[in-house]
C-alpha cells in the first residue's frame, strides 16, 4: 500500500517539499541545540519545561481524541463514522510521532534515551508515559494499516485486529490520563496539583482533536475524491460542542476553588496567567486571546445554524483548536513553574531556535500525516463504488 | 532465474557495498603506527612491584568492565574500597586512583583509544566530567 504515497500530483509533491524544507530547518536548529546544549532555549533553572513539553502535552490530547471516532464506530456501530475512522487513527499516529519527538528534543542527554528501558522505573510516571505512548502508536499502526488493507482487498479485516481495537479505546484514555499524572502528582506545583487534571486534559483533547479532524476532513474532501461524509462531520461537531463546554466548565472549577478558598499559592498561577503578578505578565494577552477564541467557538458551536454551516463550522473549529492550544499547550505548563518554589517570578519565552525546532517537529508530524492520508484516500478512492 | 530490474538492483547493490566498505577505502594506504602505551610515569617507576589492580591480561581486555563496576559500587552502592585478588585495597576512582599512576593520559589511554578509531577525548567520554591529569608537554 505504501507505493500509493509515491504517486501524486504536483501540488502533493510541492506540499511535501515545503514540509521537508521546514523539517530541514528544524533539524539544523536541533543540531545547533545538540552542540550548544539547551542553553539556546528560553528555559531556565526556574521554568525548566517550556514550549517543547507544552506541545507534547497538547499533542497527546490530539492523539487520544481518535477514540472519539473509534469508540462510536466500533462499540456503538455508528455507521456514519465508518469513513472517517481511518483519518482519526492516522491522525493519532502522526500526533504520537510528534509527541515522542518533542520529548527527545527536550532531553539534555538524548543519546541516553534508552536508559528509560534499561532501568525501568515503575514509580516514575514518565516511565509509564513512555509505555502507553509507544503502545498507542503500535496499536494505531496495526489497526489502521490492517483495516485499510482489508478494505483495499474488499474483505473483512482479520479477526485478531478486533481485540486490538477494543484495547485501543481505554488505551487512548490512558495516554492522556498518564500525561496528566505527570503534572498532577507533584507536591509544591499548586497549579498542577488538581484532581481534575486528567479530566480537564481529556475534555480539552476531545474538543481540540476532533476540531482538527474536521478541518482535515474538509481538506481531504477538497483535494481528493474521497468524501468523509457530512453526517460524520455533524456528529463530530456535536462532540466538540459538548467537550468544549465541559472543558471551559473545568477551567471555571479551578478558578472557583483557588479564589473562593483564597489560598495564595493556588491563586498565584491563575493570577499570573490572566492579570500578571509582581509586575510580570508575559502570558496575559495569550490567555485573554484563549478566552475570546473559546467564547467565539462556543457561540458558533452551540447555535445549530452556525454549527451546520461549513464556513462557520470551520471558524469554530479553528477557534477551538487554537484556544485549547493556548490554554494547554502554553499556559498550563509554563504557569506551573510560576511563581517558583521561592515565590519569585522568573518568566519564560521561547527563543527563535526553540521555535524552529518545534516547527520542524510539527512539519514532521504533518509529513507523516500527509503520507498516511494519501494512502488512505487513494485506497478509499479505488474502492469507492463508481457512479 | 530472472532478476527483475537487474540493472537497478545491481547499481543499487554496488552503491551499497561501496558505502558499507567506506572505512576500508578511507584508511587504505595509510600507515597507522601500532599503539604504544607508555608506563614510564614517576609513580609507576617508583613502584617496587609494577602491578595494576588486575593482572595485565585482565586489565587490558576488561578495564572498561572494571571501570563500570567501580562506578556502580561507588556511586550507587556507596562502596569505595576495592579489594584486589592479592588482598591489596584501592580507592575506586578513575580520576584519583587510576590516573595517579597513569598520569600520562595522552601517552597511555589515548594511545589505544585513538588506534581503535575512537574519537580522542570524546569516546569514551570519561573526560567531559572527570578531570584529566595535567601533563607537561
Amino acid at each position: 500500500m505504501l507505493e500509493r504515497a509515491l504517486t501524486g500530483d504536483k501540488r502533493y509533491y510541492r506540499w511535501l517539499m515545503f514540509l521537508l524544507v521546514l523539517m530541514g530547518l528544524g533539524f539544523a536548529s536541533y543540531l545547533y541545540q545538540f552542540n550548544k546544549g539547551l542553553t539556546i532555549t528560553g528555559l531556565s533553572r526556574d521554568v525548566s519545561w517550556g514550549f517543547y513539553i507544552a506541545q507534547f502535552t497538547f499533542l497527546v490530547g490530539v492523539a487520544a481524541s481518535a477514540v472519539m471516532v473509534v469508540l462510536p464506530y466500533y462499540l456503538h456501530n455508528v455507521k456514519v463514522f465508518g469513513k472517517i475512522t481511518i483519518l482519526g487513527e492516522f491522525l493519532a499516529i502522526a500526533s504520537v510521532t510528534m509527541c515522542l519527538l518533542f520529548i527527545i528534543v527536550d532531553l539534555g542527554k538524548p543519546m541516553r534515551l534508552l536508559n528509560v528501558l534499561l532501568y525501568p522505573t515503575p514509580n516514575s510516571i514518565l516511565f509509564w508515559d513512555m509505555v502507553v505512548l509507544n503502545g498507542y502508536l503500535f496499536l494505531n499502526l496495526l489497526i489502521g494499516w490492517n483495516v485499510l488493507e482489508a478494505e483495499r482487498k474488499g474483505v473483512h479485516y482479520p479477526n485478531w485486529v478486533k481485540p486490538l481495537i477494543y484495547i485501543s479505546i481505554p488505551w487512548a484514555v490512558s495516554i492522556h490520563t498518564v500525561t496528566a499524572f505527570l503534572y498532577a502528582g507533584l507536591p509544591g506545583r499548586h497549579y498542577w496539583l488538581t484532581a481534575i487534571m486528567a479530566a480537564r486534559f481529556l475534555a480539552s483533547a476531545f474538543a481540540s482533536g476532533p476540531a482538527l479532524l474536521i478541518l482535515l476532513a474538509f481538506l481531504v474532501k477538497k483535494y481528493t475524491k474521497f468524501d468523509p461524509g457530512k453526517e460524520a462531520i455533524d456528529k463530530l461537531s456535536q462532540i466538540i460542542t459538548y467537550a468544549m463546554i465541559i472543558s471551559l466548565f473545568f477551567v471555571g472549577l479551578e478558578v472557583f476553588t483557588a479564589f473562593y478558598s483564597n489560598i495564595p499559592s493556588h491563586m498565584e498561577a491563575i493570577e499570573y496567567l490572566f492579570f500578571g503578578i509582581h509586575g510580570h505578565g508575559r502570558l496575559v494577552p495569550f490567555m485573554w486571546l484563549f478566552l475570546i477564541l473559546a467564547i467565539v467557538a462556543l457561540v458558533l458551536l452551540i447555535n445549530p445554524n452556525t454549527r451546520k454551516q461549513e464556513k462557520t463550522l470551520k471558524i469554530a473549529c479553528l477557534a477551538t483548536f487554537f484556544s485549547m492550544w493556548l490554554e494547554k499547550g502554553l499556559g498550563l505548563v509554563i504557569a506551573g513553574f510560576i511563581p517558583n518554589p521561592f515565590n519569585e517570578v522568573r518568566e519564560y519565552a521561547p527563543t527563535i531556535p526553540e521555535l524552529m525546532i518545534a516547527i520542524g517537529v510539527w512539519a514532521t508530524g504533518f509529513f507523516v500525516l500527509t503520507i498516511l492520508y494519501k494512502i488512505a484516500t487513494s485506497v478509499k478512492e479505488e474502492t469507492a463504488p463508481s457512479i | 532465474m530472472k532478476i527483475y530490474d537487474a540493472r537497478y538492483v545491481l547499481i543499487g547493490l554496488a552503491i551499497f557495498v561501496g558505502l558499507f566498505t567506506i572505512p576500508f577505502w578511507y584508511n587504505m594506504g595509510r600507515a597507522v603506527p601500532p599503539p604504544d602505551p607508555k608506563l614510564d610515569t614517576p609513580v609507576i617507576q617508583q613502584m617496587a612491584v609494577k602491578q595494576c589492580v588486575l593482572p595485565l591480561a585482565e586489565i587490558r581486555t576488561g578495564h572498561m568492565q572494571l571501570l563500570n563496576d567501580w562506578r556502580t559500587w561507588v556511586v550507587r552502592d556507596g562502596l569505595r574500597t576495592y579489594v584486589a585478588a592479592d588482598g591489596k585495597t584501592y580507592n575506586m576512582s578513575l580520576q584519583n586512583t587510576c590516573m595517579d599512576c597513569h598520569s600520562n593520559k595522552t601517552q597511555f589511554c589515548d594511545q589505544c583509544h585513538i588506534y581503535a578509531g575512537l574519537e580522542a577525548g570524546t569516546v569514551p567520554y570519561c573526560w567531559t566530567c572527570h578531570i584529566a591529569p595535567k601533563e607537561n608537554q
Partner: protein
C-alpha cells in the same frame, strides 16, 4: 521448503529480537568478582541530617559571610555561569519570605527582612525527585538516606526539577567547565552539559571520614551535621533543645535540614 519474502522478513525480525536477549545471558554467565567494601575510615550514619542555626550565623558570623557557599562550590567544582537563568548552586542564601514562603507576616518579616537564609537540598525522607526520576539517576541511599545523583545515568529530562518543591536542583544548560571560576579541585569531577546536579551532603567526604565542606567551613559553628538515628548525635541534641523549622513541612517530604531561628 518454500518461503515467501514476507515469511523471510518475519523470521529475521524474530531473530533480531532474540539478539536482544544476549545481555540477559551475560548476567548469568558472570563469575565471582573481587569484593568492593566501604572505606574503613568512613563516617557512617543511618539517617544524616543537618541543623542550620540561623541565629548563630547572623549574630556571630560577619556581615555577608559566604564561607559555607564558597567552600562547597570550590570543593565540588560548581560553575558560576553568571546568569540567573542558568544559575547552578548547591548551597545558597535567599530571604526568609522566599525560603519559607507563606510563613511571613508583615511584622516578622520586618525582623527577618534582608536576612540571608541558607538553602540547600533537604535530602528528604520522601523525596519527590526520586519518585519521579524515570531512570533512577537520582536515588535515595538506603544505608544513610542521602539523595544522590548518578551523573552517568541522568538523561536530562528535568522531571526532578519539576518535582522538587525546594528549587534545590540545577540543570547544566551548557558546558559548565569554562565557568568554573574557583581553582579546579582535581580530586572531584565536574559535570557535563545536559545533566541535573545538586548538593550530595558531601558523600565523597563522608567516605573519607570528613564532615561536609560547608559544615567544616563555618567558623561560628552555625551548621551541624549528624545522624538522626543516634540519640547522642549533635543534631539530635540540638533538635531536643531548640525549636526548629523545616521548609514546607505540609508537603510530606520530611526534609532533613532543620532551621533554628
Amino acid at each position: 521448503m518454500e518461503t515467501s519474502r514476507r515469511n523471510f522478513l518475519k523470521i529475521s525480525g524474530v531473530c533480531a529480537l532474540g539478539l536482544t536477549a544476549l545481555p540477559v545471558a551475560d548476567v548469568f554467565g558472570e563469575s565471582d568478582l573481587p569484593k568492593a567494601i566501604k572505606n574503613p575510615q568512613a563516617l557512617t550514619g543511618q539517617h544524616w541530617a543537618m541543623v542550620v542555626d540561623m541565629k548563630k550565623c547572623w549574630e556571630k558570623g560577619k556581615e555577608g559571610c559566604k564561607d559555607c557557599i564558597l567552600a562547597c562550590h570550590a570543593v565540588h567544582n560548581v560553575p558560576d555561569i553568571g546568569s540567573i537563568k542558568e544559575e547552578i548552586k548547591w548551597i545558597w542564601t535567599n530571604h526568609y519570605e522566599n525560603v519559607f514562603p507563606g510563613q511571613e507576616n508583615e511584622y516578622n518579616v520586618k525582623n527577618l527582612e534582608g536576612r540571608p537564609f541558607i538553602a540547600l537540598c533537604n535530602h528528604c525522607t520522601n523525596p519527590p525527585c526520586v519518585r519521579v526520576c524515570p531512570t533512577q539517576a537520582t536515588f535515595k541511599r538506603p544505608e544513610d538516606g542521602i539523595v544522590m545523583m548518578d551523573f552517568h545515568r541522568c538523561i536530562g529530562c528535568r522531571y526532578c526539577m519539576a518535582g522538587c518543591p525546594y528549587g534545590a536542583r540545577s540543570f547544566n544548560w551548557r558546558d559548565p567547565r569554562p565557568f568554573i571560576k574557583t581553582e579546579l579541585n582535581m580530586r572531584f569531577p565536574t559535570r557535563e552539559r545536559g545533566v541535573v546536579e545538586k548538593c550530595n551532603f558531601c558523600a565523597e567526604r563522608l567516605a573519607e571520614g570528613l564532615l561536609p565542606a560547608c559544615v567544616e567551613a563555618c567558623k561560628v559553628g552555625a551548621l551541624s551535621f549528624g545522624d538522626l538515628a543516634d540519640p547522642n548525635s549533635v543534631v539530635r541534641k540540638l533538635l531536643a533543645s531548640h525549636f526548629t523549622m523545616r521548609r514546607k513541612p505540609e508537603l510530606g517530604t520530611q526534609p532533613n535540614v532543620y532551621y533554628i531561628v
